[in-house]
């Protein structure tokens, strides 16, 4: 649906996006994550041509976005809704009028607008606020209005530019589940820009991690987050590398949190009768499922036994190098 190939963008001499290539499929929730200044918002804005780029190609449904001008560009943008960090609602219009604005400008008739506004208010759960002014609403409610407005023209794609960055964790959760619901029920492709990993982790199918204008990591969210932890830590800094035991062998084990497999550790202890320690045990919440992540430390002579057992149990595991 969105196909980006070798896209580069400069501000003067500064390269802000460097040879970006990625593909976003219909119905996906795709995450662009990175530190501030990594170019993720700029890349997002290239998709609906709020930003121009100098070289490469960006196609949406097979249409080269760079070639669009005038009315064609406006028609094209109609199919792409967008929401922003600070909601960007018109303070002098009521919630109803805010949602209606794009339809008004595109010449929908009054009955159509009324029907659609009420429908959308239901989707985003703000039916009782339609006559309020935005400043009377909380941040989360304002973002809901913005989402309703973004959906008003029946877009195929929804771009979300740090839409939850100004919200508290609980409100963030509710907005994220709303986005998930919209994706599932309306089949709208969503591209999410965020600087919080947790946001991407919970809602996205695929992710590109941007660093200094380049794509540093790319792939399915679970793969990237489970297998590229060190790279992610290097890009984002933040939490210090966990000091793992320097003797023995450290093994990272990843299992689905539900069902039998989450007892793998205790099972292993019982069956193999080996000693090990568990320096790391985490639960990671993803869009579709929850994964448990352990690092266990075994003595070298037991390694083969353990590896064999894990393979036999069909568990994803890898050796973490000692520093």
């Amino acid at each position: 649906m969105i196909e980006i190939k070798g896209l580069s963008k400069f501000y003067g001499d500064i390269k802000v996006l460097d040879d970006i290539s990625l593909e976003i499929k219909e119905g996906e929730i795709y995450g662009l994550v990175g530190r501030s200044g990594a170019g993720k918002s700029t890349l997002l804005r290239c998709i609906n041509r709020l930003e121009d780029f100098q070289s490469g190609s960006l196609k949406v449904d097979g249409v080269e976005v760079r070639d669009l001008e005038g009315t064609k560009l406006r028609e094209f943008r109609k199919n792409i809704g967008m929401i922003f960090q600070n909601f960007s609602l018109m303070q002098r219009r009521s919630v109803y009028e805010n949602i209606a604005l794009p339809m008004e400008c595109w010449g929908y008739n009054k009955d159509e607008i009324d029907k659609r506004v009420r429908e959308l208010a239901e989707v985003v759960e703000i039916t009782d606020k339609l006559s309020s002014k935005p400043r009377e609403l909380s941040g989360g409610q304002q973002q809901r209005v913005a989402i309703a407005r973004a959906l008003s023209l029946n877009p195929k794609i929804l771009l979300s530019d740090e839409a939850t960055s100004a919200l508290d964790p609980k409100t963030t959760d509710s907005i994220l589940s709303l986005l998930k619901r919209i994706n599932r029920n309306l089949g709208i492709t969503i591209v999410i820009v965020a600087h919080q990993m947790s946001v991407i982790k919970r809602v996205c199918d695929k992710v590109s991690v941007l660093d200094k204008g380049k794509i540093a990591l790319n792939g399915k969210v679970e793969d990237v987050f489970l297998h590229k932890q060190d790279e992610i830590r290097e890009i984002f800094g933040g939490a210090n590398k966990i000091a793992l035991p320097s003797t023995g062998i450290n093994i990272r084990i990843i299992v689905p949190e539900e069902g039998e497999s989450n007892r793998i550790i205790s099972k292993m202890a019982q069956i193999l009768n080996v000693d090990f320690s568990i320096p790391v045990a985490n639960i990671e919440q993803f869009k579709e499922r929850t994964m448990a992540l352990f690092v266990i430390n075994v003595e070298c002579e037991n390694f083969n036994k353990v590896a064999e057992f894990l393979d036999y149990q069909n568990v994803t595991w890898e050796v973490v190098e000692n520093e």
Binding site: N48, L50, L73, R74, E75, F76, R77, K78, I80, G81, M82, F84, N86, S88, M90, Q91, R92, R93, L101, P102, E104, C105, W106, R149, A150, L153, L159
Partner: protein, 219 residues
């Protein structure tokens, strides 16, 4: 000059008051229309505006600054030929309106430009992201959001234009300013001079009051 003060005020101050009111209302209205137009062009052609155009912006910018740097008295005198061409005379309240508009329009243009620039830039992006045309973004989004600020600024400009009419009075426009100087100051008639000052104070208060009322309604 020992007439009854009330009679004095009715005969001399009242017509002057009406002249002033006439000049202020007409000059402010015309200046607002022209200023609004110029203000929007400045907003649109600015380097991060909707359609940046360095040459149009620069020319307007210089012209606006140039007119604004004229002391009003000098402006009145220097545009006499233009005034004559427009109203046929350089004396009287109609003639005064020409320099008042000349000075008022760039002033209001700047204020309008400022009010529009104060509108959240994100809203322009929102408009673009929905595929609205530039005209729609300006009038349905930016101007609409800027209305309270514009009202405040026009109130402010009206008071400024009221002050300027007093100066226009010295070049034969009549009005409260001229009357205060000729009948009041130069004739040593304190009743007229301070009477007019009181009238002007009340007038300014009234303008502010009306401005505030409309602002409250629009916000």
């Amino acid at each position: 000059m020992n007439r009854d003060p009330l009679q004095l005020i009715m005969k001399i101050v009242m017509p002057a008051f009406l002249d002033t009111l006439y000049m202020v209302v007409i000059a402010t209205t015309i200046s607002t229309i022209i200023g609004f137009f110029i203000g929007i062009i400045l907003y649109v052609t600015d380097k991060d505006g909707l359609r940046p155009n360095a040459s149009i912006y620069k020319v307007l910018d210089v012209v606006v600054n140039m007119i604004r740097s004229f002391p009003f008295i000098i402006l009145v005198v220097s545009i006499i030929p233009i005034t004559r061409a427009i109203v046929g005379t350089s004396i009287g309240k109609n003639a005064a309106i020409v320099p008042l508009v000349f000075a008022g329009s760039p002033f209001i243009a700047r204020l309008i430009e400022g009010s529009l620039k104060d509108v959240d830039k994100g809203l322009v992006e929102v408009g673009k992201s929905f595929g609205l045309s530039h005209t729609q973004i300006i009038f349905k989004v930016v101007v609409k959001e800027a209305v309270p600020a514009i009202i405040n600024n026009i109130t402010f400009a009206t008071v400024a234009i009221l002050g300027t009419t007093a100066m226009a009075g010295t070049v034969g426009a009549g009005g409260l300013g001229a009357t205060a100087i000729t009948y009041g100051y130069q004739n040593f008639n304190d009743t007229i001079m301070y009477g007019i000052v009181v009238i002007l104070i009340i007038l300014v208060q009234l303008i502010q009051l009306v401005g505030r009322k409309i602002y409250r309604k629009k916000i």
